[in-house]
């Protein structure tokens, strides 16, 4: 792997950038591997990267049915944060945020992580109390949080709508270390890092079956033939329950559709990530200038990867309530991704009852920010046959045991963050 630097850039500039080598190989699948990761998105590639880097396990294949990062890695709104109330989520997402802070250096690949802050708006005394409680919980867990009053919000984002009668701004909870990153670069950076350590990344290879002998898995059927494996890790969020059912395991997950939107590019307008929980809307501005935003799920089980128009209208209503100055903006693109919605809003990163089969999924709305942390703990779990303390709570059995991690306190509904 050639090291990327100002010197390599200058050298290649002299030859008109015609001689760069590909960032990863395109190998044919071998008959068998020690570990097969199903899913070549951020989580799968990060898992392969940390398996090789932290645990020295390099006889690994990542199987991707389409192209790298073509699923939810390339379909999210790129927000990174660790502003959680409950301990299990707080410690896990904080580990992920710490990995984000070093990621570009670690990968020698610019993931454009920008700690521009994440501000959750509050519109009532009750929301301010909830934000104060969550902020205090974060600080007790060693995570940065600041409670802004109305004037501090105004100083930070002066063009928010401070005159709205329905949603008056009382203040907000700010996590300054949160922000955004370039989602494609995350997939590509992990792919390059994994490939250079010997991992085979195999695209256009869809898993169609999981072969079992007795209680344990022995390999996968794919569109490119059978491939043997001692261990199989699923990182296919959106289709986790489909894949585990190939091995006879049903999960507390439903697939739902979430849309995201990007406007035409503008001069710098929004300098942070704003979330508007009272209606459900979140927005930031990409480095290219487009406003990137999203809102609610489409509202019914869906694998369609395309959204419905009533939600488009609803999301834009919500956006205009806090930023009326966006009303004449044109929408450049909108798209949909299939979410694994778990019944408590928290992920599953665990060994399954089927020997050799491991699952990483159920990411609900929150998979992107978890990418490095998820890969890091999943690699540990695969390498050691047991969870790391940071993912020990994210079991499949927690639902039957009544140990759900229900951040929203909403009960068993597949619609929470």
């Amino acid at each position: 792997m050639s090291h990327y630097s100002i010197f390599s850039l200058a050298k290649h500039a002299l030859s008109g950038h015609r001689n760069w080598s590909p960032a990863w190989r395109d190998p044919a699948p071998k008959p068998a591997y020690d570990v097969i990761i199903v899913g070549g998105g951020g989580h799968g590639l990060a898992t392969a990267y940390y398996l090789a880097k932290e645990h020295g396990i390099t006889n690994v294949a990542v199987l991707e049915k389409g192209w790298l990062g073509g699923g939810n890695t390339g379909r999210n709104t790129t927000i990174v944060r660790s502003n959680y109330l409950l301990d299990a989520n707080a410690h896990f997402y904080e580990k992920s945020l710490k990995l984000w802070e070093e990621l570009s250096q670690d990968l020698n690949y610019n993931v454009m992580f920008s700690q521009r802050g994440v501000l959750n708006l509050c519109h009532s005394d009750a929301q301010m109390d909830a934000a104060r409680r969550r902020g205090n919980a974060m600080r007790l867990n060693g995570i940065d949080a600041e409670l802004f009053d109305r004037e501090q919000v105004r100083a930070f984002v002066p063009h928010l709508n401070f005159d709205d009668q329905r949603f008056p701004i009382y203040g907000g909870l700010m996590q300054r270390r949160g922000g955004t990153a370039r989602h494609d670069a995350v997939a590509w950076g992990f792919a390059r890092g994994a490939d250079s350590r010997g991992v085979d990344i195999i695209q256009n290879c869809e898993v169609t079956g999981i072969r079992r002998e007795g209680d344990r898995v022995v390999g996968v059927e794919t569109t490119r033939g059978y491939i043997g494996a001692k261990k199989i890790g699923l990182a296919v969020a959106g289709h986790t329950n489909r894949l585990t059912q190939m091995a006879g395991l049903r999960l507390p997950i439903e697939a739902h559709l979430l849309q995201a939107f990007v406007s035409e590019p503008l001069k710098p307008l929004i300098n942070t990530v704003i979330t508007f929980g009272a209606h459900h809307f979140y927005i930031s501005q990409s480095d290219k200038g487009g406003l990137v935003f999203g809102g609610d799920l489409d509202g019914y089980n869906s694998f369609a990867q395309r959204g419905n128009l009533p939600v488009v209208e609803d999301v834009i209503h919500a956006g205009l309530a806090i930023f009326p100055n966006l009303s004449r903006l044109r929408l450049l693109r909108h798209w949909g991704g299939v979410m694994d919605m778990t019944m408590d809003g928290s992920p599953i990163i665990a060994k399954t009852p089927v020997e050799g089969l491991f699952v990483n999924g159920g990411w609900c709305y929150g998979g992107f920010k978890a990418t490095p942390g998820s890969g890091w703990v999943f690699a540990y779990t695969l390498a050691h046959d047991r969870p790391h303390p940071l993912n020990a709570a994210f079991t499949i059995e927690r639902f039957a045991q009544g140990r759900v991690i229900d951040e929203k306190g909403a009960g068993p509904v597949p619609g929470a963050h």
Binding site: H239, N241, R242, Q245, R250, L251, P252, I253, E254, A255, G299, Y300, N301, S302, F303, A304, N308, L309, P310, M343, F399, A400, P412, P414
Partner: protein, 89 residues
């Protein structure tokens, strides 16, 4: 927009309805249901990619609960029937 043919009101936009989820689940008996049966009912889902039996409540119309057969990939609806007794089971 999905259009649902309500047996009482005719063809209506799905925004008139509230989604009620998987209609194949059956509530265990409150006295004799096992823990596993309750886990199955409360949490576990088939989550099919294709035909799905699901509840929709015509909340801004006749307020009837319906069972709709809809494909989760194409959104094509093949059958709609009143939930009737099924909804309370």
């Amino acid at each position: 927009m999905i259009r649902i043919s309500c047996p009482y009101c005719g063809l209506r936009d799905h925004t008139e309805f509230t989604y009620g989820g998987d209609a194949t689940l059956r509530r265990p008996d409150s006295e004799t249901g096992s823990d596993a049966a309750w886990e199955d009912y409360v949490y576990l889902r088939d989550d099919p990619k294709g035909p799905h039996q699901e509840y929709w409540h015509h909340v801004q119309g006749c307020r009837a609960w319906l069972v709709v057969s809809r494909d989760t990939v194409t959104h094509a609806i093949t059958a709609v029937r009143p939930a009737g007794e099924e909804a309370v089971r």
